[in-house]
Point group: C2
Chain length 298, copies 2
């Protein structure tokens, strides 16, 4: 029972011999001398109190016990590899990669980034604007600012920023020509623009299809900015985020916020990234300031 492995590295040796089939080949793999490898296996066998290999003039052949332990030994190796990877990430840290819909990188938000960078000159930030949902868990980004209607994966760190609300908007130009609807029951006869793209959630587009006739949809865009611009130029009515356009006096809201389109506005951080001290610092600095932007000023 008192079979403690005194030298963890011996497991590496074990794996090398198991895979190569001989201590000589293993020694080349490990950059050691052959007797060293043989001795280490001997020591390991002694510690575990198990014969691991049958010696033979043409090599070391794993016993049933060795086969039984292989998977677990490989788990140790994998854990070591993880550690090395993580350490090398810490040693030469890449920038903190932040993904968000382009409009989230507004002047007021950029100001927060700048303040942080000023206070932490060593830390670089990288921005990945776009509608596409990058996979934080796969390491495609470190932090995401997202509007989502589904609960986020459990293994992401998550801070709630606000609840985003949506409504139909039209520009004053449009209003002058066609007037604006008063409510959602009054949409007949109006024109609409929409946003639709394969790799992005279609919730808003679907909502529109449910409430207006297909022929009312004047234009469909695959870039959100283009749709936004189209609404501004008076080409039709469209769904926009209340906070996003609250500064834009040219756009007029045509209805109450559409509750079924409301989304959680979250700041998501991958667990892996959150281990990095800079990412922690950044989060601590950024989250409250960013949240404050979305607080209703009374």
């Amino acid at each position: 029972m008192k079979s403690r492995i005194s030298n963890w590295t011996d497991i590496q040796t074990f794996l090398a011999v198991y895979r190569e089939g001989s201590t000589l080949a293993a020694s080349r793999l490990l950059g050691l001398a052959q007797p060293t490898v043989a001795r280490r296996i001997e020591i390991l066998e002694h510690h575990l109190n198990l014969p691991l290999f049958e010696r033979d003039t043409r090599g070391f052949h794993p016993t049933g016990h060795a086969r039984a332990l292989l998977a677990t030994a490989e788990a140790v190796e994998a854990a070591i590899t993880d550690l090395e990877k993580e350490a090398s990430g810490l040693a030469s840290p890449g920038p903190i990669r932040i993904t968000a819909y382009s409009a989230n990188f507004s002047p007021r938000v950029k100001k927060i980034f700048n303040e942080f960078t000023t206070g932490h000159p060593g830390v670089r930030l990288e921005f990945l604007p776009g509608m596409k949902m990058l996979d934080l868990e796969k390491g495609e980004a470190d932090i995401a600012l997202r509007l989502t209607r589904t609960p986020p994966p459990a293994d992401l760190i998550c801070r709630k920023i606000s609840t985003a609300q949506y409504a139909l908007f039209g520009s004053r130009t449009y209003s002058a020509k066609h007037g604006l609807p008063d409510s959602l029951d009054d949409l007949a006869g109006h024109s609409f623009v929409t946003f639709e793209r394969e790799d992005v959630s279609k919730v808003m587009h679907s909502w529109l299809l449910d409430h207006v006739a297909p022929e009312q949809i004047a234009l469909s865009f695959s870039e959100f900015e283009l749709m936004h611009a189209a609404i501004q130029s008076g080409m039709g009515l469209g769904i926009l985020n209340l906070k996003l356009v609250e500064q834009d006096t040219d756009l007029v809201r045509c209805c109450d916020p559409i509750e079924e389109l409301s989304a959680e506005h979250l700041m998501l951080i991958s667990k892996q990234a959150y281990k990095r001290p800079e990412v922690r610092q950044f989060t601590k600095f950024f989250a409250p300031r960013y949240t404050a932007l979305f607080k209703d000023e009374t």
Copy 2:
């Protein structure tokens, strides 16, 4: 990037220093000299190219990097512990623990066990008879012979033995006094015995309640053997396994096998146990012979 950890044991040292807060305390924990511990940390820091501790006249204090690596380092430690545990299990193997319903340990089955034990004198078998479902994944047993109507957990090794069929049986004594029903439509006026217990599936008991009136149930047992004996002594009709009673000329089947009670007869082996060579050997020996017992002899 070329930051390979040359000595895996250094991670143990790292954890000890992290936990104890000083190289001196860590050295006591590890049974090493204090300078050795300090040197190993130095080496590790050099390999990882990361400062892990801030030195101070009253101890080693972890840096942010050390904190970031802690969880992963502990994963390595856990993997090592697993390996040690598994090895110590292989070194001093306990018996192969086999759980099954008591009647499964019939003379014909015991004969197979005996043949195996004769051929493998070093391997001990332990029998855990009972209706209760022991949890193989928790290590309560190594092998289970089971009748089940639900698919088994994916991480058990599973061999199908047969499909068990059930029907109503009555003894000749009972038959002489009250006659026997011809089919399931003919159950009125007969008495029944049943088996019911908290920790065991109630499928058969429920079936009976669905097909006969409550007052027809003469007796309810919490031991399967007692119910079996009650049927044999003519106290009532009851549901029994066809294979179990095929040798018993005193019992008469009253209906066709009840399809909705059919169950998969499985041999289940925990993955953990299956790593042990003896368990593999036993399975290879036992499974085909056991299966043969349930083949219909034409």
